[in-house]
Symmetry: C2
Subunit: 163 residues, 2 copies
DNA sequence: TATTGTTATACTCTATAACTATA
DNA sequence: TATAGTTATAGAGTATAACAATA
């Protein structure tokens, strides 16, 4: 549409910008994690909560696959999240050797609170952006998200697994 | 410019989209980390490499502050990164009680290799996006990055610390 | 026999507190 | 005395291997 100089130029720009912002956030985002109000949850535990929030209920083995973690690690992590009162383990109705893992009410409210505080931090950054770039960011990220989720569904492996 | 319905609507869209994509990547990106070719490096060690790549040389205490980690943790982590041959510890020229930490040649090439593989994974996703959204993503992220770095410079605290 | 989850053991990450050396 | 770094100890995250219970 607009004068494209080389066919891959805009792809490369998007790839570089993505990788750089991800690395920046890998340092900063983690730094803000443990300033939580109710109880500080480790980065690994937080990943468990994310998955449980999306796929609820889920058994232990499947959770491990989604996280890329060994069953024994997940089992121990659930011990602690259970002790914190964030996760509930109940026997599955379909098979007596499986568990049903789900967020407790406390887990749900912890996650909601964390998201509220993180979105407030993001708002501080995004408010400093020019309006046009802000709209571009929202449109670009929505499309990016669809593409990631599409890639994850297609093959059994997702984008990150290819890395 | 375009018909804005409510003043904060585009800000909220950008904030939500950002938070959601970050959470998605928090699970997926970490999953792909240890498929590295030369040697698998933990997520924490990788964060050290990022900082050393940007601010080189840096002393141990400052590195700890940037990471939000205690000096003892950083010291032990440097033991292992040193043993892996990724980081070099040398006495500072200015003060005999400080260290100068920097990436070794091997550390630099490891990081370059990891970035190449991760950018390839990102390219797979970004290639699936329509061209217009791809351009929007690149523009939006570049502006976002500037805003994050601006916020980090202004106050002594950055966006993530406010969370 | 294959699968789900747990336990045993070992190593890394993390923090607080005590320590050494330098300023 | 204050600061830079290390070491001691303890708890959390991770994996492999061995185990119990179920299908």
């Amino acid at each position: 549409m607009a004068g494209e100089t080389s066919p891959g130029a805009d792809r490369d720009a998007a790839v570089s910008a993505s990788r750089e912002v991800i690395e920046l956030l890998e340092v900063l985002w983690n730094k803000g994690r443990d300033m939580a109000s109710p109880a500080p949850v480790s980065s690994s535990q937080l990943r468990v909560l994310y998955v449980l929030d999306r796929d609820r209920p889920i058994n232990l083995r499947t959770l491990g696959e989604v996280l890329g973690a060994a069953p024994s690690s997940v089992s121990r992590m659930c011990d602690r999240l259970d002790a914190l009162g964030f996760v509930e383990r109940s026997p599955s109705s379909s098979s007596r050797r499986e568990l049903e893992l789900r967020l407790s009410a406390r887990g749900v409210s912890y996650l909601a609170d964390l998201r509220t505080r993180r979105e407030a931090a993001l708002l501080g950054v995004i408010s400093a952006m020019p309006s046009a770039e802000r709209a571009a960011l929202a449109a670009g990220l929505s499309s990016f998200r669809l593409a990631v989720e599409g890639a994850a569904s297609e093959g059994s492996d997702d984008a990150a697994e290819t890395a």
